[in-house]
Symmetry: C2
């Protein structure tokens, strides 16, 4: 028996999220079904990050145990043959039998794509949220600063979370103008694309989407940048803004801190 870790990328548009759901198809369900069929075993993957319905990933992680004699690093080639084209295993490797990426220290990077335009771009409609309100990008950057550090993020956590504590550590926030702004004045972007990138050691249920929704209200001038700190300190979900829609969100990367196989390599 060996434990294998997969790096999984997916277009979440047509799925009910990572986790198995009674009422719709999940990423986990497709992986379990296709891995079980390929390996002729009852495979149950254990995921690292349970992304919501409609949310994407470039590098989610999961592990499972198998008796297979296929070399772990070759498994990605085999399984990609039978996966639908919106789920791709980017890498597969053997890990220690007790290794679980959710229990290991890691840095997660999420990105939320925002388009400012009169109408959605049909080529980005699955991967970006489009707003026709001009956005004050500098005000959004100012507001986002207070999130960095260890804080109680209860204001940015949806009901239904099973987390024991709402304290989390955000390592960095960036608001990048990824497509050059067209028109607008110095302060307001009236057309273009923004990427809100946030890195941290862990995130609460809907945390990135609620932060994004609140930052959008700052960008639109409905809130001042200073209010962001008040929202954070209130520890009250009702003080924060709306949860931004799922399609703009992508889990870009889960970087494991000093994983055991890297220590083995350097020893």
């Amino acid at each position: 028996m060996k434990r294998i870790m997969l790096t999984v990328a997916y277009d979440g548009t047509d799925y009910h999220g990572w986790q198995w759901q009674p009422n719709g198809c999940s990423i986990e369900e497709v992986l379990n079904r296709e891995l079980s069929r390929l390996l002729k075993e009852d495979v149950r993957v254990k995921g690292c990050s349970r992304t919501d319905a409609g949310v994407h990933a470039a590098g989610n992680l999961c592990v499972f145990d198998s008796e297979t004699r296929i070399p772990a690093e070759k498994l990605c080639y085999a399984i990609n043959q039978s996966l639908p084209e919106d789920i791709v295993v980017q890498e597969s490797r053997e890990v220690p039998a007790d290794f679980h990426p959710r229990k290991w220290d890691s840095v997660k990077t999420y990105e939320y794509q925002i388009d400012v335009n009169r109408f959605p771009d049909p080529l980005r409609r699955r991967y970006a949220y489009t707003t026709y309100y001009p956005l004050n990008v500098e005000a959004m950057r100012e507001a986002a600063c207070c999130l960095v550090g260890e804080h109680d993020f209860a204001s940015f956590c949806s009901a239904g979370s099973s987390a024991e504590t709402t304290v989390r550590t955000v390592l960095s926030v960036e608001i990048l103008q990824t497509l050059p702004p067209v028109g607008g004045d110095e302060k307001h972007m009236t057309a273009g694309s923004l990427t809100f990138r946030i890195r941290g050691t862990g995130f609460l249920y809907n945390m990135v989407r609620i932060i994004t929704g609140t930052l959008l209200e700052v960008g639109r001038g409905f809130r001042t940048p200073q209010e962001m700190r008040q929202v954070l300190e209130a520890c009250d979900r009702r003080k924060a803004g709306q949860t931004a829609p799922p399609q703009g969100l992508c889990l870009r990367e889960i970087r494991l801190i000093n994983p055991p196989w890297e220590r083995l390599q350097t020893e």
Copy 2:
């Protein structure tokens, strides 16, 4: 009766191209059906560029005649309500009654997205072609240079073209590394994204895709950069490379040269 021009963006993945086809749904067909329903007239759009099945557009143009009393510039808001989400009218405006964008001088910009990776990125699978061969980007740039200028592009034209002449003018070619290369040596990109951008006053049937396919063969080292000029001068389709698959191609922009309404504004 007035003539209205639409700037149309679409995700071509699920369509049999721009032009009406007996065996599948086309962009033209959806526009005709939804405009006819909205305006309660028999609308027939006349397109500027007949993109192939699976090819995308950020700014194709078309015109149609209508008795509608909806102001032309407001029509985009109305029609977008009934169009599927993979077709979006970005702009609508009134043009002179005899104006046809296909007959007017213009500069067209096409982009072809190439990902170099072991496996396709599920978030880019609809909009990029993935190759696992390392690419020599400098060799591709060297090869592409000879295309600029007025040439007989018969080598890069598929059979079935109704063009009277195969002479066309290419104004510029660029090969941009749009996602930073990961790994590889100085010469070969083993992971990352390229955009091949080509501007010209007109293109032949499949011309951009055949040029891209030939450049990919140069990038992989199957041909030398110098062979590109020989292919061009041969005026023989059999000398060029394969037609690159449609999903990587997007008609970014059709810029009309001195359109009549701009002359009116400056006079």
